[in-house]
């Protein structure tokens, strides 16, 4: 005897939406994966890949144009105003970008996820307090606070990481909380509760696994924001102090020579853009793949 199984009712089977998203899902975001792999490999093996010293240059070699624009193969992307090899600096700069992104999203993601789970599960005044704190977070102009902190404490890698953690945790908390509010109504949560499971156990064993998907999506979509924020802070001088190469500060260093040596600032900017496009496309793909309902979530 077979148990009657309810047929899934497919509304608008003809709909363009469904066909379109299926077509899109089949394709892996190959270009994103390639760009990100290249980036991570450069970050890890920077000293082996970079042909020149990233912090020291020869002043006699300043403003040599990139190879395709009249330069030599010794400096494929040209040199900056201190004669440092731009390609080597970009390769080393990848380290800063990768470290900053991983730490900011790791720490910010954990803090935000925990707060989101607690907020959604506990409800009541706990929820109210946490969500109001998140509101405050979103109302603070981070870049200005960052400048103030850079003045008072002096720019450093630690400060930069702290600021970026502060930038991202709120997004995780909000999205995770929304997801938890749905999960809490599930029968298995009620079942666990009636078996006498403690709130901590329920949150850890029954709710946390359910929010991993959304955490992955928010995390990927936030990479772009983190990279851009890091670049902006470095550009304004509140990032990693020189001479350590960071892409944002490379753009800043070259901007005074834009009329005579465009490559010094425009090339690192292209690299930032490539990275952000790659993670954005990957994030969109991941979101559609895990749950098309999440389409409203923008980076």
């Amino acid at each position: 005897m077979t148990t009657p199984v309810a047929e899934p009712v497919l509304l608008n089977t003809w709909s363009e939406t469904a066909r379109y998203s299926r077509w899109r899902l089949r394709r892996w975001p190959i270009s994103s994966i390639v760009i990100l792999s290249v980036l991570i490999v450069s970050a890890v093996f920077a000293p082996l890949i970079a042909p020149h010293d990233a912090k020291l240059g020869d002043l006699g070699d300043r403003h040599i144009p990139p190879m395709l624009f009249g330069g030599t193969s010794d400096h494929i992307l040209g040199t900056d105003s201190l004669g440092r090899d731009i390609f080597s600096r970009i390769v080393h700069g990848a380290r800063i970008s990768v470290v900053v992104t991983v730490v900011a999203l790791g720490v910010g993601g954990i803090i935000g996820t925990l707060l989101g789970v607690v907020s959604g599960y506990a409800g009541g005044w706990v929820d109210e307090v946490i969500m109001r704190i998140v509101d405050i977070k979103f109302a603070v102009p981070l870049i200005l606070i960052a400048l103030a902190l850079a003045v008072v404490l002096g720019p450093s890698l630690g400060l930069l990481l702290g600021l970026l953690v502060f930038l991202v945790w709120g997004h995780f908390a909000r999205q995770v909380r929304a997801e938890v509010l749905v999960i809490v109504t599930m029968d298995y949560v009620a079942a666990a509760r009636s078996c006498g499971a403690s709130p901590i156990r329920i949150m850890y064993r029954h709710i946390l696994p359910g929010v991993i998907g959304i955490v992955a999506v928010v995390g990927t979509l936030q990479v772009g924001a983190v990279v851009l924020a890091e670049a902006s802070l470095s550009f304004l001088g509140a990032g990693v102090p020189p001479p350590t190469p960071a892409w944002g500060s490379m753009v800043a260093e070259g901007r005074l020579y834009i009329a005579t040596a465009w490559w010094v600032s425009l090339i690192p900017g292209v690299v930032i853009g490539l990275l952000v496009i790659a993670v954005t496309l990957l994030g969109d793909w991941l979101r559609d793949r895990l749950d098309p309902r999440l389409r409203q979530i923008q980076g």
Binding site: R132, L144, L147, L236, I258, I272, L281
Partner: protein
């Protein structure tokens, strides 16, 4: 009404938190007297100034004094220019407001039509073109776009001025650089909410009734797709204020952002603090305005 009251209280709390932060930072930075007084001042003069500034009081009283002064519009004096901070800020506001308004106008005038176009022509040539424009606008750092525009239009073609405010033409490049980012976000949000609206029952009903394609798009779909984009427009306005710091730096546009960055290099903390407080106030105010607007558009929110 309860909704509104809660939002107002939340806004006030936000402002208080930021003032505490700014106040705390100024105290970490050191004794404010050391910047105001000459090095050969006597202990007596030092103590007198401390009394005048309220430094002999406990910290919470100092904070209260600080907030009272802020409410009165007194933000202290610039350490470099020796003029009241409020006066200096006031003189910079028109430039930043002009830049933000131009960029916002660019973002809306370009973003809204492109977003609708992209949704209506989904999957076609225009959709791909518009989406590339949007992805690029959100991926390229604003300062890079600014430099690129300078390189093309000021250095290469020599059509537009590259820096400072020398008449209305110098507004064009910074406004485009700043507005592109906002336009891109607007395109993405509007496209997805238009797609949802176009796929809805009421739009299909309207189409079935024989309503013209144009009326369906603008009257039925567009109006219902507006809620998300309106919030986003307000957030764009807020992000324009922050983005203007970077853009003003690149274009040497004499607004609040440039003032803040210069304050950083001059270690002129009172000025920086003034810009932070003013920006936060605008930020919070805009958010509150959006909530009120939301309430007016979507009656369901009023019940909460």
């Amino acid at each position: 009404m309860r909704f509104l009251a809660r939002r107002v209280i939340a806004s006030i709390v936000t402002l208080l938190v930021v003032t505490m932060l700014v106040f705390g930072l100024s105290r970490i930075q050191g004794d404010p007297r050391s910047l105001l007084i000459s090095e050969d001042a006597t202990q007596k003069q030092w103590d007198a100034l401390g009394q005048e500034l309220g430094l002999d009081q406990p910290v919470y009283k100092q904070y209260l004094l600080y907030v009272t002064n802020l409410v009165k519009g007194d933000m202290g004096d610039s350490t470099l220019q020796r003029k009241p901070v409020a006066e200096i800020l006031w003189s910079r506001i028109p430039n930043t407001a002009m830049l933000a308004a131009a960029a916002f106008a660019f973002a809306i005038l370009i973003g809204v039509p492109l977003g609708v176009l992209s949704a209506v022509k989904r999957g076609g040539f225009w959709d791909h073109g518009v989406r590339s424009f949007a992805v690029l606008g959100q991926a390229m750092p604003v300062f890079w776009v600014s430099l690129l525009l300078i390189y093309i239009f000021a250095v290469g073609l020599n059509w537009l001025p590259a820096s400072r405010n020398t008449g209305w033409t110098s507004l064009i490049l910074p406004a485009v650089a700043l507005g592109w980012f906002g336009a891109s976000g607007q395109v993405r949000i509007l496209r997805s909410s238009m797609l949802d609206a176009l796929d809805s029952e009421y739009v299909r009903l309207a189409r079935g009734k024989g309503v013209s394609a144009r009326a369906v798009i603008w009257k039925h779909a567009f109006r219902n797709a507006l809620l998300g984009p309106i919030t986003f427009a307000a957030l764009t306005l807020a992000s324009l204020i922050t983005g203007s710091i970077v853009v003003e730096t690149v274009f040497s546009w004499p607004g609040l952002g440039l003032l803040a960055v210069q304050a950083v290099s001059n270690s002129d903390y009172p000025i920086l603090q003034g810009v932070i407080l003013l920006t936060t106030f605008v930020f919070v105010f805009v958010n509150l305005l959006v909530d009120v607007l939301y309430m007016a558009i979507d009656p369901r929110i009023r019940i909460r």
